[in-house]
Each structure stands twice: as structure tokens, then as C-alpha cells.
Symmetry: C2
Subunit: 334 residues, 2 copies
Amino acid sequence: MSDATLENDVIEPPCSKKIKIEEQNENGVSNVQLELKDFVPVKVLNNNTNRKTVCIQGTFRDKSGVALVLLEKNAFKGEELDDKGYFAIDTKLRTFFQNDIYGNFECYPRSEINGVKTTIIYPATEKHIAKFSQQEVHIILETPELYRKLTLPYIEKEQFNLQWVYNILEGRSEQDRIVYDNKCEREGFVLVPDLKWDGITKETLYLLAIVRQRGIKSLRDLNESHLPLLKRVRDEGKKAIYSKYKVCGSQLRVYLHYQPSFYHLHIHFTYLKHEAPGIHAERSHLLDAVIDNLTMSGHHYQLASLPFTVREMDPLFSSYESDGHVARVNQPDK
Amino acid sequence: MSDATLENDVIEPPCSKKIKIEEQNENGVSNVQLELKDFVPVKVLNNNTNRKTVCIQGTFRDKSGVALVLLEKNAFKGEELDDKGYFAIDTKLRTFFQNDIYGNFECYPRSEINGVKTTIIYPATEKHIAKFSQQEVHIILETPELYRKLTLPYIEKEQFNLQWVYNILEGRSEQDRIVYDNKCEREGFVLVPDLKWDGITKETLYLLAIVRQRGIKSLRDLNESHLPLLKRVRDEGKKAIYSKYKVCGSQLRVYLHYQPSFYHLHIHFTYLKHEAPGIHAERSHLLDAVIDNLTMSGHHYQLASLPFTVREMDPLFSSYESDGHVARVNQPDK
């Protein structure tokens, strides 16, 4: 999956998932036997050459409606790397060049050991197409004035539903998933595996700390009065993760997103070796740096200009565009 | 290639490259016909499940010396995505499950269209093995005191050779590669394509701005007096990149590394859509944020605690380890 895709998958309420499926049921689809040979590709929506994923829009022969095919090259598995797998006698090798001790080749293992993860969405809605389409992304530098003038009204207008967060905090859902719980209303938090993580594989460790205190929308709202809360999340979060998953604190990336995907303060914990989506400098702020900035200046995040990335299809982009702070790609006025 | 590998490749003096090759020639190797079926794997040094790369250490049957085999799944090519490629009749499809409109499968295209980039290094030196080995990485929070006590002595002791930088600035080398040149000794800089970039493919755009002013080792040395220089790099750099490559400023990620790979101030420009190595929050600082911090507090970077990542094999790690600020993985005292 591309970053964009994963970004859209950040924690989603079970309820909204259910609703989504029900909507999709209204397409009136029962299980149909799909065959790749019947797929007629129309357009490549997204091709991530780093992660080796691609999403293709098309149709199925003799079937109505749009279909999406997502392909992802599989990661290498240890058991394939032997004389029955990649180093078997039937692996073909094409030589590009050999120079001194370096040789460049392309090898062709037999197809059974070189599978490609394949996801088919059929019929796909406009929402699916938008979600999997490569988006033009821009960086915007949000001054405190622009936050008040454009971002804050957007947050208030969009009225993000936080009920699912409160359900977790009040013990109404996902209780079996909770890794650590500090029930203090002011400085407490709940630590849960992120939905993108299987909860087992150390290499891809990803947890979320959701604070109990309500009304802290994002980094922008943080001031020195939140330092005890933030330090508690950092210290108790690291301790809980070490005792349960044996990953030490110095190997954890602990950070906040700006803009966040939902406006109730939460902190991400990922394994340093894992290239999780959304860890890039334009979106992530290390908790240690946040604590340091607030210690030096209690109102740092009310005074600072904060960069954030936004896709052209997002409503927030339109607000900044119509106010003249960013222009779409392929516009003369750039 | 894994991030670790690419990180090691950040601009390297032509001279040192040459020396390296000469060292390797001393292994006295002429071109030998290598066959994957003769490769005897001993150890997986590195397996990047995001980028689908793996590096295996082993030997070749009836040959002496260590060999490294690097495998990388190829990214998808547009021309493969048709009824002669992935959607051909001979592509096998295995069904995992189908749920409503979502179906999960694994497909097995015929091997010719599913090649694997293969690099063989034989014989490989200890340096190669270290370079391609997955390293245990840690985050260290560097206070101003720790910078003076441990990091600065390390920088001074290592005596990084900057001659190749001065060669570029003084027009003795890479002049054909220069994209933009502002000759002001105090606020000028040279803009060159990064060695990791082919200089053509817009999707992977990556340039470096190297400032003319000497003696600015890193982010740590920056203060308000450098604001005119930094703003000039940002504004003139974006302008030069737009006029030459037609990538607009709002789609550029402009940032500094801490720790940098060499201690002469340089600023990275990458295309926002490109997941370049080293853009993660634990290493990269957006130039806009740096300028904003210096505007709010002229000595921000002399007062701030700065996180940086370090691998257990690096000498800097040892300094912090022996001073008790970080511990190796698999040590009791964690």
C-alpha cells in the first residue's frame, strides 16, 4: 500500500467501518468469481516505486462497474532464500555487467516463490478511486494567524466524530486491545496497538497513546501546563512497551502528527527500524523536541509557524488556495 | 537498497571512491562467471520489508572468500500491466478470502515479467559486510552540555575531510553539475544534484545546497546572524529548481540533517512525493522551521536539546555509551 493509502487508514471507529460496509452492500454484490485475465486495465492510479505497489483502475470483461486491482510485491521470506528457492537450479540469471568485484544481474525465480499480493475491490466507488489515487501534495507553512483564520474554522466546521475515542477511554470498546492504562483524568492516557499493526511483529511495532484529558486538539494547543502529561506519556509509554514487547526506549520513535488525523491529542510510538507511514519531517514532531520547546518557551506552539502537508483534494487545501497561500499544480499562477 | 545503505552513500569525494576501488582491486579478482545455484547462503544481513530488499552473506561452491547477494524486487512497470503481462491468461491466482466487495489473493505471473534486481559482490570485504548489515539504531537526545562534552570532541577528532566540498565551491570539480551558483562569500551557495539522484527523473528529485561560508558545522552552530543566508538558500534554491525542473516550491521538502553526514553546512531539497532516505523526523529539520525558531530565539540551537540517531557500530555511539547515556541491545542494563 502507498503512504497515502495507509495515511487514510489511521485508526477508524469500528462503527464507521460497519457503516462503510453496509453502504457498500447497497451495491448489491454477492461473491463473484473474479479472474485477473478478465481484468481490463484503464488507468494506473498510483505507482509507489519504493514500496513496489501499484493500483490500477479498470473493468472486468462482461461485468458492469469499476474495479480496482492493487498489486504489491511480497517482501522476502527467510525460507525462500535457499537452494530450493531463489538459489535453485531453475532460477534464470541475466547479466547486465560485471565490474571488478561488483556484478549486476536480474534473476527470474520460478513463479511459485515469487508471488504478488493482490487485492481486488469490485465494484469500486468514487471514494475508493480517490483514496487510492496519487494525489498532488503541498507543504503549507501555517502561521498562528493562518491557524486562526483558516485551519481552526476548518476543524470546527468538519466536526470530526470523536465518539470512538471516547468509547476506548470509557471502556466501551477495544478493552481487550489496551496495553497500558493510566486512569488519571488530567495526566492519564490509554496505550493501544495502532490499527495498522498486527500487535505481534516486533519489526513493525506501532502503538498509539490517547490522552484522557479532552479538548487538546493538537500540537497547536500544547503549552507548559501540559508538560507533566507529556512526560508521563513518554516515560510510562516507553516503560510499558519495554515490559511487554522488549523494545527499549532508545529504539522507539515517539512523535505527534501535525496536522493529526483526528483532533484529540494522541502520540505515536513506532519501532525506530520500521519505516512507518507519516514519520517524515514535514508531518512528525518528536515528543522529546516538543517537551524541550515547551520547557524553553511555554507558548512555543501558539507562537510558532508550523508546516503541514495537504493534498489538493482536501477541503483544507481549498481554504488555503482561495486565500492565496498555495496553488494547484499545472496552474499558470505558480 | 536499504536506507542504511543509501545513508552511507551520501556525497562522497571522487578521490575516496577511487581509493576504495583500488583497495578492492587488491583482492585480485578478475571476472568470474557466477551462478546463483552455486551460492551457499550463510546469513541474512538485512531484510527491508518495506522496500522489498534483502542482503545475504554466503559463499560460492568451490570458490574461496565471502560473497554478498543483494536482491530487490523490481517496481511495477506500466507496460507489464496488460493482458500480455500481469493480466495474461497464464497468471495463476490463489484466493485468500473474499468479503463483500473486497477480495484478497496472491498472483503468480510467469517468471519473465517478475524479475528481481540482483547484485553480487564477490569477494566481499569486512567493510562490505558492515555496510550492508542491519544495524541496531538508537535515538539519543543531545543536550547542549552533551554536545560540548561528547559530540564536538568526536567531530574534531574524526577530522572529516572537506576538501571535496571546497573543490566544488572553488570550481575545481563537478562544475558541469552545478544547477545554481551564488558567489557571495557570506550568503552565497552552490546547488548541485545529490549523488543519489540521476539528475533527470522528476519523481526522485534530490539536490543539495552547499553554503560558501565556511566554519558552520551543523544546525548546532546556527544563530540569528545566519538568517539572511538561510532565507537566500530557501528562496533562490526553490526558484532555481522551479525554473530548471518545473517543481514548485510548495512541493519541495527543504531540510537539514542532524547529525549531518559531513560537517560543512548543506541543505537538502527533495520532491515531496519522493520518500528519499533520511527524511524521517528523527534526522531531518525543515528549513522553514529552523528559520522560524531562529526568528523567535536567536540562540535556539545553542539552547535546544537535539535528538539524533546513531548506529551501535559508530564511534559516536561508543562515546555516549561509555558516558552512560545509551545501552546496546541485548545488554542486561536496559
